[in-house]
């Protein structure tokens, strides 16, 4: 299980990497270029920003959910993702990076407010039984770095 310290470190790592990769993408002038996964770099950064932004609002419900309740039940993830990306389409890339960083500050503050018992609580996410801390690590750190990695890559490796 991810410790609170690991989780907080991960929540600082993501915006730091996003800012670093944004400089690379600026240098390549590559924000609008579609990647092989289907989104442009700009859309991937938007997705990361939106996902982090949703958690402080939705997290209380997630933490309160019983262990066996599938957290994504009734959720059309593809539609949520498309709507999220569309919601920030008018922003420029600097604004998106700033929003992403700001949302990570907010979600870090929200995580700080969770008790150790809440972080250890078991939940079901996409058919997997995970502690809340592992779920947050997967959703807010690994998932985000995954997209930041894809965003900077003109050619898949």
């Amino acid at each position: 299980m991810a410790t609170r310290e690991e989780l907080m470190g991960g929540l600082q790592f993501v915006p730091a990497q996003a800012k670093r990769v944004a400089v690379i993408i600026d240098g390549q002038n590559d924000w609008e270029e579609k990647r092989t996964q289907g989104w442009s770099a700009k859309e991937m950064f938007t997705h990361v920003a939106v996902t982090a932004g949703m958690i402080p609002a939705m997290g209380a419900g997630m933490i309160a959910a019983p262990p066996e309740a599938e957290l994504t039940a009734g959720l059309d993830i593809a539609s949520v993702n498309a709507a999220g990306v569309g919601s920030m389409a008018a922003m420029d890339t600097k604004q998106i990076v700033e929003t992403l960083a700001g949302n990570y500050v907010k979600v870090s503050d929200w995580v700080k407010g969770l008790s150790d018992e809440q972080l250890a609580g078991k939940h079901t996410f996409l058919g997997m039984s995970l502690s809340a801390s592992d779920l947050l690590m997967t959703l807010l750190v690994l998932h985000s770095v995954h997209h930041v990695y894809e965003a900077q890559l003109a050619t898949p490796v």
């Binding site: 299980m1 991810a2 690991e6 470190g9 991960g10 790592f13 730091a16 990497q17 670093r20 990769v21 400089v23 690379i24 240098g27 390549q28 994504t72 993830i77 993702n81 996409l126 058919g127 997997m128 039984s129 995970l130 592992d134 690590m137 997967t138 750190v141 690994l142 998932h143 770095v145 995954h146 930041v148 990695y149 894809e150 900077q152 890559l153 003109a154 050619t155 490796v157």
Partner: protein, 157 residues
């Protein structure tokens, strides 16, 4: 550009995540379950282990390569990835995790020896020109997180 400290912390982060995700996969009994990205978690860990071994062994040579030399231009990366993953199919998942931990430890120790000037030297990878530090940040640290995420989830989101 990544600083030396960023890289060292990033390598440590990969080690922590590899152990954590490995434990999750043990708990889920999921090492051989194909993921949406096409590989099983075991194959993804094999890939991370082989890439990190390559970086640990060929990284010092990379420093002497001409700025415009692109390793990926003369290599069929897809074929190489498939071959290396197949070659490691007999390894146990624990051995793969241990290999990742050991390789990232070696890369971290090597990075410790690099000067700021060496880290700032521009190189080319996958058609992108960037400093050595950013190349390591991308192909060692982000790349490993990217595949650990794909290994950790049963359903893409």
């Amino acid at each position: 550009m990544s600083t030396k400290q960023d890289l060292i912390e990033g390598m440590t982060g990969v080690i922590v995540e590899a152990k954590r995700v490995s434990k999750l996969l043990d708990e889920q009994g999921d090492w051989s379950v194909k993921r949406p990205a096409g590989w099983t978690p075991k194959e993804m860990f094999s890939h991370i282990a082989s890439v990190s071994e390559q970086i640990a062994t060929t990284g010092p040579g990379l420093l002497g390569a001409p700025e415009d030399f692109d390793f990926t231009a003369s290599t069929n990366v897809t074929e190489m990835n498939a071959r290396v993953v197949a070659a490691m199919s007999e390894k146990l998942s624990q051995e793969l995790t241990q290999a990742i931990v050991a390789n990232f430890g070696k890369i971290g120790a090597w990075v410790e020896t690099l000067s700021d000037e060496q880290l700032a030297t521009p190189k080319t990878f996958a058609q992108m020109k960037m400093p050595v530090s950013d190349m390591l940040g991308n192909i060692a640290i982000l790349h490993a997180h990217h595949h650990m995420f794909e290994a950790a989830i049963r359903t893409a989101f």
